[in-house]
Symmetry: C2
Subunit: 255 residues, 2 copies
Amino acid sequence: MERKLILITNDDGVGAQGIQELAQLMLQLGDVIIVAPDSPRSGAACYITCTQAITLGRRVDMEQEGLQVYACSGSPVDCVKLALEQVCPRVPDLLVSGINHGDNASCSIHYSGTMGAVLEGCMKGIPSVGYSLRTLKRKCDFSPYAEQVRLIAQTVLSQGLPQDVCLNVNFPEVAELAGMRVCRMGRGRWVQEWISANNPRGMNAFWLTGRFLNLEPHSEDTDYWALDHGYGAITPIQIDMTAYSVMDSLKSLES
Amino acid sequence: MERKLILITNDDGVGAQGIQELAQLMLQLGDVIIVAPDSPRSGAACYITCTQAITLGRRVDMEQEGLQVYACSGSPVDCVKLALEQVCPRVPDLLVSGINHGDNASCSIHYSGTMGAVLEGCMKGIPSVGYSLRTLKRKCDFSPYAEQVRLIAQTVLSQGLPQDVCLNVNFPEVAELAGMRVCRMGRGRWVQEWISANNPRGMNAFWLTGRFLNLEPHSEDTDYWALDHGYGAITPIQIDMTAYSVMDSLKSLES
């Protein structure tokens, strides 16, 4: 039987610790191809590069048996698109993205390059999973999550995922997980998002920052609650964003 | 009674024809503040700028009675975040984005900077609507859509929208609309997405291009079908991307 083919990307860049740890875990399940941004692309969402050409370079220095590595000048979504058309010898059996340094729970999924890549894989029909760790550190201990990362990937490899559905998996930074929970995406928003950048030439200039506001801190079925209480959160995410429940109320706009 | 305050942005940049036309229509409904990218940002999705400071400059040359205009060096989502915290004197009654040159129907919503800005407004609790025209032209006749653009904005201004729901409005390029339909987001994907960029220094380099593949061309309730048949499409979009219907099937991953 042919070995499974697993495509890996991220938004922290090919040199990040999280993607290297993920690659080592995935090598236990199949052959691995990394196509990842050549530098960090946090907050890239589903950004696609329309205004310039994308370069792709092989990083043989980072390769090992069963592992090919490519660095790409584009976004995480560009990486997936490029991998599927220009790099992979066949359609991958699984796409995994991460492990992101920073969580992508609640509304943060909309800004996440990690999850942008996962949505792209999903739209291309590939079972796709994003992994993120709630941490501010560039160097982390990923060992408390290794078993769950592998187990979820293995399950998706063997069972697949429903059409147009992918997984957003988030871990809290803990020595030992309280467990794993299947969650919905919690309601939240970012507030107090700008600080002045003190531009020396007198222009108004600002740095993006911000604080996350959990709009339902007591809802135990949300991803954010799980993280706050030491659980890993598995949230199924769908491509279809239609708000079906309100379609009828808009009928007065038809003509 | 205080005049309504309408915030406008887009992803084609402050100088695009579509945003200027939209501003003139919105001035019939209230005071208008434009905070838009200083140059085109197509494909920006929900990109947020984390790695550099954002500048904001007033464009008094583009202003008129009731209209303030700001150009921002960031993404469409940055523009909305900056407008709400640093520019608007009060919370806007409405956010509109566009009119985009190019449709954002089906899966294209995930890549759309126009709709990224709309999702951001929606997450901030502001009734938000994106308008897009299926055209390849930089200079278009927007008059066939003016009445519908205004009518939808007026309705949303007076009735609001449900919590965490925004609108994605797409028009076909026609002399006269066949009508307006409330639609769901059709299934589709982009294929054949890269052409070689003939890099003179021998690197692998590619330009993003592609062809849209409609995966359900005969489904009359989709946005894409509506556009193909001369109708304007009004698609309600929700922030919550949870795939509720598959949560039970994932319970085996809990621990």
